[in-house]
């Protein structure tokens, strides 16, 4: 018995201490329902087709997380899905590998706005205002979102400076096409923070996208900002009755990047190549309505799917594209101010 115990303990030790020198391809995305859909459409079929094993992780965004990983030398990520300003900042700072488009179908294979030196677009989507139709009749605007006197209840917002300054100005009556011009002035930033000040006691912050439909469904908030797909997904799979306000939503593209110095660059390219197939990309929309970046991925949608899709011209025309250049220039400064503001 004692021998057996010793042997078992020894085996456990050896197994546990085995070095992870040749780690599997690590793919990092936004978690929750979206990553579940990606696993179904991309990760597992890719692994089955190529025999390449993969590990998943999820994150909540933030260029600082990527900077920390590269600078500390403790980077375990290979392929990461990043937001547009993270793509630009990280590319300039050398956090990502430069992409060789000849290995993933050439630049012409994709919509022009999805192509970048360091990353290839993976989804087109909107950050929308969402609410529970069972608890709120009508279609709220950002002005209503800020109007807690008229519509008492908590509000969900993403913990970060991007998105919220835009929403604040929209709620304060700034026309969508002037939002970034206003934010480029000191007075515009002040105005946005003053609006946020007013709402602050009523805000419940979410960090991971999965939290947005969660706090809405649990009734912790009356309305929340959210990526559009999570809301539609909750309606479909949890039979929620959530509404989406496309007007005043913020439209953007997320991209895949390969982290600098990744030991799995080969496998990463094979994944990107697999994922670039428009027929594969088209399978994502029925699971979660995010548009694909390969030409042809968003064609032939049924009217029901089209109505919920960010690529629907009717939805596109009322939404505002996130200004990456503005955030490239101002993210550091405004993040610091926001972080101090939110912690007080």
């Amino acid at each position: 018995m004692r021998r057996f115990l010793l042997a078992a303990a020894g085996a456990a030790f050896v197994l546990a201490a085995a070095p992870a020198s040749s780690r599997d391809l690590t793919i990092v995305s936004w978690g929750g329902a979206y990553q579940d859909a990606q696993r179904e459409v991309y990760f597992r079929p890719f692994s089955q087709a190529t025999g390449i094993r993969f590990v998943e992780d999820s994150w909540d965004g933030g260029i600082g997380v990527l900077r920390t990983r590269i600078q500390s030398g403790n980077n375990t990520w290979d392929l990461v899905q990043v937001e547009s300003e993270e793509l630009l900042l990280g590319c300039e700072e050398g956090l990502f590998e430069k992409l060789d488009y000849s290995r993933i179908g050439g630049r012409d294979h994709y919509l022009p706005e999805a192509v970048h030196d360091c990353g290839i677009g993976t989804i087109l989507y909107n950050f929308v205002l969402a609410w529970d139709k069972d608890k709120f009749q009508g279609t709220p605007t950002w002005a209503d979102f800020w109007n807690v006197e008229r519509y008492p209840g908590k509000r969900g917002l993403r913990r970060g400076v991007k998105l919220n300054l835009e929403y604040a100005l929209l709620a304060d009556g700034v026309p969508a096409n002037q939002v970034y011009d206003t934010l480029r002035t000191e007075a515009g930033v002040e105005r946005a923070f003053r609006m946020l000040d007013r709402l602050k006691p009523h805000i419940v912050w979410w960090q991971s996208s999965a939290q947005a439909p969660q706090i809405l469904g649990a009734g912790e908030v009356l309305m929340t900002s959210s990526p559009n797909g999570r809301i539609t997904n909750a309606n479909r799979t949890e039979r929620r009755n959530f509404g989406i306000q496309w007007t005043g939503s913020l439209y953007t593209i997320d991209s895949w990047v390969i982290m600098k110095g990744s030991p799995n660059v080969e496998s990463a390219y094979r994944f990107l190549s697999f994922a670039s197939n428009p027929a594969v990309q088209a399978k994502l929309i029925p699971l979660i309505p995010y548009g694909g970046p390969a030409k042809g991925a968003n064609e032939g949608l049924s009217p029901a799917l089209l109505a919920e899709s960010p690529t629907n011209p009717a939805n596109l025309s009322v939404s505002l594209m996130i200004d990456d250049q503005f955030w490239l220039d101002n993210l550091d400064k405004l993040s610091q101010r926001f972080n101090a503001w939110v912690a007080r």
């Binding site: 649990a218 400064k333 503001w341 007080r344």
Partner: protein
């Protein structure tokens, strides 16, 4: 004869003592050898990393190697007017070289911690100044980014000259040196750490006070009731004590959710008209922390109370003392060591809480540890993480040391 015997005895005694000493010495060596592995393990794998991390709080070695000429040229700068042409020329050279070598990001990061936006300035200027230009460097640099026309930009460079700095420690107290070296308060919209320190100590104190009030009657009940009752009550203390902190935090999330058990029960009982928001606020953080730390207060109190002979109370009341005054005069003083030990353990653990506020609190309920994690993981501001750690560790050790001085660690044995 007696004399000889005495000498013989003396010799024997000396030999015996020698052997004993040798044995004692040998025992010391083997004792040291037994302790050594763990001691080395803790020193190398724990103490050294902690020391190295704390050192980052006073160290500043990121800018000078990347911009050596600029830092050198700035050495005699007064900080009251823009530097001269040679400094600008040195900057241009440094930026070109650093950009080619790819070393700019770490220096840009460091300067950005001093003044948000400087990362963009540095990296953007390097890009714009990469191509050769005509005329004085000063004009070209100012054209590349107007921020170089501000005193504070150069102040940030001068402050980051290294190798040692008080920048991060000052920042942890919402203070900063200006370009001329005078210490001033940071802009109001950036000030946050004094609030955070105050909040951390306030939450820890509140949690300590509440646990004391709750633990005292329970500990007394356990100490004074029949063995069967006592062991049942003790079980109620020990089970949560052994249960994972994360499990208990999860339990409170479920209990306090809008559609959770507490709200449902309160509405069903008619206490609330509609479910209330009980999560993501200070209330949730304090309740969960009290729950998690309560056993650390009950156990030392119980350990002390168990030692007090019940006869003392009875004696006091039979002598005519009012029960309240008997408690105050006889019982309470004897439990003081337990109160001290319990408060110490609860308070210093509360100071270090990370998981519970992160999951149950809102933005304004985060304590010092959250900010240490934030600066270490989500911005690359390791100096800030280190200086905040330094202050937290100093506070913890100070309280432990003070307690050791005033009360002594032998006052109570908890088992």
């Amino acid at each position: 004869m007696a004399h000889v015997a005495a000498i013989e005895t003396g010799k024997a005694a000396a030999a015996l003592a020698r052997r004993a000493r040798r044995a004692g010495y040998g025992q010391k060596v083997s004792a040291a050898l037994l302790v050594l592995p763990l001691l080395l393990f803790v020193l190398v794998a724990f103490a050294a990393p902690i020391g190295a991390m704390l050192k980052r709080g006073v160290e500043d070695r990121e800018v000078a190697p990347v911009l050596p000429r600029t830092i050198g040229a700035l050495s005699g700068w007064s900080g009251t007017a823009l530097p001269d042409e040679p400094v600008f020329a040195a900057l241009v050279e440094d930026l070109r070289e650093a950009r080619a070598a790819g070393t700019l990001p770490s220096a840009a990061s460091r300067l950005n911690h001093d003044q948000a936006g400087l990362r963009t300035t540095l990296i953007g200027s390097a890009r714009r100044l990469a191509a050769p230009f005509e005329g004085p460097a000063r004009e070209a640099v100012l054209r590349a980014d107007p921020a170089w026309g501000q005193l504070e930009t150069w102040g940030a460079l001068a402050r980051a000259r290294g190798p040692w700095t008080d920048f991060f420690l000052l920042a942890a107290l919402d203070l900063k040196r200006d370009a001329a070296g005078t210490i001033r308060a940071v802009a109001e919209e950036q000030a946050v750490f004094r609030t955070v320190f105050g909040r951390t100590f306030w939450i820890a104190a509140m949690v300590t006070a509440i646990t004391l009030v709750l633990a005292y009657p329970l500990a007394a009940l356990i100490a004074l009731s029949r063995p069967a009752v006592a062991s049942a009550l003790l079980f109620a203390v020990l089970l949560p004590f052994w249960t994972s902190l994360l499990v208990r935090t999860a339990a409170w999330m479920v209990l306090l959710a809008r559609e959770g058990v507490a709200n449902h029960a309160l509405v069903a009982l008619g206490l609330f008209g509609a479910p209330q928001q009980l999560l993501f606020n200070r209330f949730a953080v304090v309740v969960a922390m009290v729950h998690i730390l309560l056993p650390f207060m009950v156990l030392p109190l119980y350990a002390v109370m168990r030692q007090i002979p019940p006869i003392h109370l009875r004696a006091a009341s039979s002598l005519g003392a009012h029960p309240v005054s008997a408690f105050r005069r006889v019982w309470l003083p004897q439990t003081l060591p337990g109160i001290g030990a319990g408060c110490l353990m609860v308070f210093i653990q509360a100071l270090g809480f990370y998981i519970t506020p992160a999951l149950l609190g809102g933005g304004a309920d985060q304590m010092l540890p959250y900010f240490i994690g934030f600066y270490a993981n989500q911005t690359v501001n390791w100096g800030m993480a280190a200086s905040l750690s330094l202050l937290l560790l100093a506070a913890t050790l100070l309280i432990v040391g003070l307690y050791g001085q005033l009360v002594g660690f032998g006052a109570v044995r908890t088992s």
